[in-house]
Amino acid sequence: MNLESPQRLQPKDYASDQEVRWCPGCGDYAILKAVQKTLADGGADPANTVFVSGIGCAARFPYYLETYGFHTIHGRAPAFATGIKLANPALDVWVVGGDGDMLSIGGNQLMHALRRNVDLNILLFNNEIYGLTKGQYSPTSRLGTRSPSTPQGSVDRPVSALAFGLGSGARFVARSFDTAQKHLPEVLKRARTFKGAALVEILQNCIVYNDNAFAHITERDVALERQLFVEHGKPLLFAGGRKGLRVKPGALKLEVVEVGEGGPAAAGVLNHDETDADLAHLLVKLEPPAFPVAFGVIYCDPVESYEAAVHRQTAEVRAKGRAADLAQLMRSGPTWTVG
């Protein structure tokens, strides 16, 4: 179906006519739904929306959306997207890939897209495994992961997607998970409206090769204790408001505190400041059991985006008025006439 106009569309209007080919029960379905909702909520014009992906289960994403889509090669989607955005800054460009695509083979492309702050919405589906190639461990797999390539368990420590993002100079990092059907579209909306490279880590369940990898965080019975939803300006509370995070006195660290009668402020609970890179550093690496996992927009501190700066600079050059006359350019410098 090709859509007529950007008038109010429903989530389902963003679905392409292609059959979705993920395994039944894969977390990718839920993410697809959340993205369709985000597009509909944002009134996205399909004609001006482009999904770019690398290779992997996650990277099949563009086929299922009735927008422009480019399924490229393994690990390089951020670079393709950079070219697209440079060529046409008016497009709303999304990048989708798995933990292998973005952090194994594609770490360099991701780093540089973040560092340059190209205006892209980058969705990293982290299932801590290579799905498409049938279950090898990935750079986000936990120590000791048994997989076809590590039958005795992996011996290398995982990288944290968001710590890597911050280390690379990202100006926007956020986290959500596949089944968070209210939270995820909210986060995606923030990413979409952020003018710059927005890195969103989405914890995603691979039901076939790494089932329940995040059950200890997302299961209903532990959710309250293990999930911290951050919001700019609001106190860092979890466990239904019973607990919060505060600065460990005299140290550069966070600690969990019980919120008593006096409320969060009295307990010294910190307010979330999404523009604070130092706080973001601490938040992205919180982990159970000692801490909850932080979800939401953890860091957001806009600066001029790359393609905007490039086009601004070009406009400045053109404004200075060197004529775009090739014949004249050829005649500049020494010439001579024969005959």
């Binding site: 482009v50 480019f70 090669i73 950079t82 060529a87 540089h112 600079q313 050829m330 020494p334």
Partner: protein
């Protein structure tokens, strides 16, 4: 304080030469490239035809006085057509012992050596690896010599400017240029104006450079340079009338790409990652932002080509460029451009390999890579430019093919073409035929792999177009719907279609012609790329001697011109000289089944004319 700057003939006895080869050689810091460039300009303005060969050291700025720090610039100029920078040197200007050490072997017996004796200190002699002083040990007996303490004379000449010794000595190259200008009766004006522009804000340095230039010239006029140090004259050549300038391959390429974009009606996005000798193209285009040109220095070659493909996907013309090792990294993405059928121009400035190899030396050894170097059945058009100026037309041609056939195109140049300059007749831009791109907009029956029945090009529907949302990628696509397809027969058909599309480019080409000589005969010398000069000269020399030889030079490496097989079949023997270990020859043998013979030179430098002459004679005389 100098009057000799006045133009007009100097009253001196000059021997008229048909052509001459001069090489300026010195330390990387001695400014030899600049000197050579200025002498080239003076010579072009004097009406000679010419060719040049800059030869840089691999090191950025090697320690002064070492042989690996020697930087040289060679120019061949004459009153006849000049095809190469010259086999052997008539005049060597050596600014130090290391330069003499490295370059003497190329000087003709009896050639003239101009030596800065001031630099022949014990320390420099040792650094250059001379056990004894060549100025005095008789080893230079077979040459004519002009020993002059340029260092001292330069210091003397610029004394009045008050420059420090170090800065003053940096004017030595201008002193040498002045002398050589006198030797060949060149006008120094262009150099003077160049210096005035360059040092407009540094009056002392300007004055010193001008003084050195003039002093060198005056030295020629006044010193006892009669007798064996006779001065020369090289009268103007008979060349096609028109407006000329000097141009390097890099400039021609950059302008050709810009012009190609204009003819296609597309903005150009150049995405590259620096590598010798390809970086200069990035630098040149980065300064052309007044045109519809953007440049992007990516984090690596993979990102560079990926961004270029992304730009093409978005409706611009993506261009990327590198040298062999970098092109290797782009291979996977080239496959995607082939599969997704997007236009893309890939420029390869070839250099010596394998691996890092000889990064600053030229070679044409990436033909295999260009034609065959991808996984799967992944054909693409390959063209090669023959000379600096030809880079302009080749760039236009590459863009034409890319957008007409929706395909990546590889354009082969090399380190020699990138850096060398030649006089170039400015093209009449209005004479070129435009090939404006029409983006697909019709919704009716649209899918992204609808094809033009004639060219087999697929439609180009760019993001932002209402109603044409679609998905493409590297998985095989159904030829009827554009959707992913794992169907066996479809894949066979698509593979054949992709191949047919690329072969179809040959339909748009003029028949392969003969550069020089008859269309049939005893021997065809078939070349490609920058071997044009030496082959051309060698064939014309042989023809002048009465030999039945023809020169055929290919621009289109893949697909080959349709008449090529028939053309080659008209010759008894075929010789294929290449600056590699025999690559085009493999392709020609496979495609024509003609027993083409290979002549190889893998030495980081162009062929000498005699090397080609000898090989041709051997075939003519059935010695091989």
């Amino acid at each position: 304080n100098e009057t000799a700057t006045a133009p007009g003939p100097v009253p001196v006895l000059r021997r008229e030469l048909e052509s001459a080869v001069v090489r300026f050689a010195g330390d990387s810091g001695d400014g030899m490239q600049l000197t050579g460039g200025q002498f080239t300009l003076e010579t072009a303005l004097a009406g000679n035809d010419l060719a040049t060969f800059p030869d840089f050291p691999a090191e950025i700025r090697a320690p002064a006085g070492t042989t690996f720090g020697v930087s040289a610039f060679q120019i061949n100029f004459g009153q006849r057509r000049i095809k190469t920078a010259g086999d052997a040197v008539d005049v060597l200007v050596a600014m130090n012992p290391a330069a003499l050490k490295v370059d003497l072997k190329d000087v003709k017996p009896g050639g003239l050596l101009i030596l800065d004796t001031g630099a022949f200190t014990d320390k420099n002699l040792a650094k250059a690896g001379f056990a004894t002083n060549p100025l005095t040990d008789g080893s230079l007996d077979g040459y004519r010599r002009l020993d002059v303490d340029m260092s001292a004379l330069t210091l003397e000449a610029v004394k009045h400017t008050g420059l420090g010794r170090k800065d003053a000595l940096r004017c030595k190259n201008m002193w040498a240029l002045g002398l050589v200008a006198w030797l060949f009766d060149r006008d120094r004006k262009p150099t003077q104006s160049y210096l005035e522009r360059k040092f407009a804000k540094e009056p002392a340095i300007l004055a010193a450079n001008l003084a050195a230039l003039n002093a060198g010239h005056a030295y020629g006029e006044t010193a006892e340079l009669g007798g064996e140090h006779l001065a020369f004259s090289v009268p103007p050549a008979r060349i096609e009338p028109g407006l000329y300038r000097n141009i390097t391959g890099t400039e021609a390429l950059a302008w050709g790409l810009v012009f190609g974009g204009q003819l296609a009606g597309l903005p150009l996005w150049f995405c590259g990652y620096p590598i010798t000798p390809a970086s200069a193209l990035l630098h040149t285009l980065a300064n052309l932002k007044q045109f519809e040109v953007g440049t992007f220095q990516a984090e690596d070659e993979i990102a560079a080509i990926s961004a270029a493909i992304g730009a093409s996907y978005a409706g611009s013309l993506g261009v990327t460029s590198s040298s062999g090792p970098g092109i290797a990294l782009k291979t996977e993405a080239i496959g995607l451009a082939i599969a997704a059928e997007l236009p893309l121009v890939i420029v390869n400035s070839q250099r010596g390999g394998p691996s890092t190899g000889l990064p600053t030396k030229t070679e044409q050894s990436d033909l295999y890579q260009a034609v065959f170097g991808r996984n799967a059945d992944a054909p693409l058009p390959v063209i090669a430019s023959r000379s600096p100026g030809d880079c302009f037309d080749c760039a236009v041609e590459a863009v034409r093919i890319a957008v007409t056939y929706m395909t990546p195109v590889i354009l082969l140049t090399d380190g020699y073409l990138a850096n060398a300059a030649e006089p170039w007749k400015l093209p009449e831009l209005s004479r070129y035929q435009a090939f404006p791109v029409r983006f697909h907009e019709a919704r009716e029956g649209f899918h992204p792999f609808l094809r033009n029945a004639e060219t087999l090009a697929r439609v180009w529907a760019k993001p932002g177009t209402p109603g044409l949302t679609h998905r493409i990628g590297g998985l095989e696509r159904d030829d009827k719907t554009g959707n992913i397809s794992y169907d066996a027969e479809n894949h066979h058909r698509m593979t054949k279609t992709r191949a047919a599309k690329v072969l179809g480019v040959a339909d748009s080409l003029p028949p392969q012609g003969v550069e020089d000589g008859a269309g049939t005969g005893r021997l065809a010398v078939v070349g490609w790329g920058s071997t044009f000069g030496p082959i051309s000269r060698a064939v014309s020399n042989l023809r002048a001697q009465g030999h039945d030889v023809s020169h055929i030079h290919l621009r289109h490496i893949w697909p080959l011109p349709k008449n090529l097989k028939a053309l080659l079949a008209g010759f008894e023997r075929v010789l294929v000289p290449e600056m590699n270990n025999g690559q085009l020859v493999t392709l020609l043998r496979a495609e024509t089944l003609i027993d083409c013979r290979s002549l190889t030179k893998i030495a980081g430098r162009p062929f000498k004319i005699v090397e080609i002459e000898e090989a041709a004679l051997a075939l003519l005389e059935n010695r091989r």
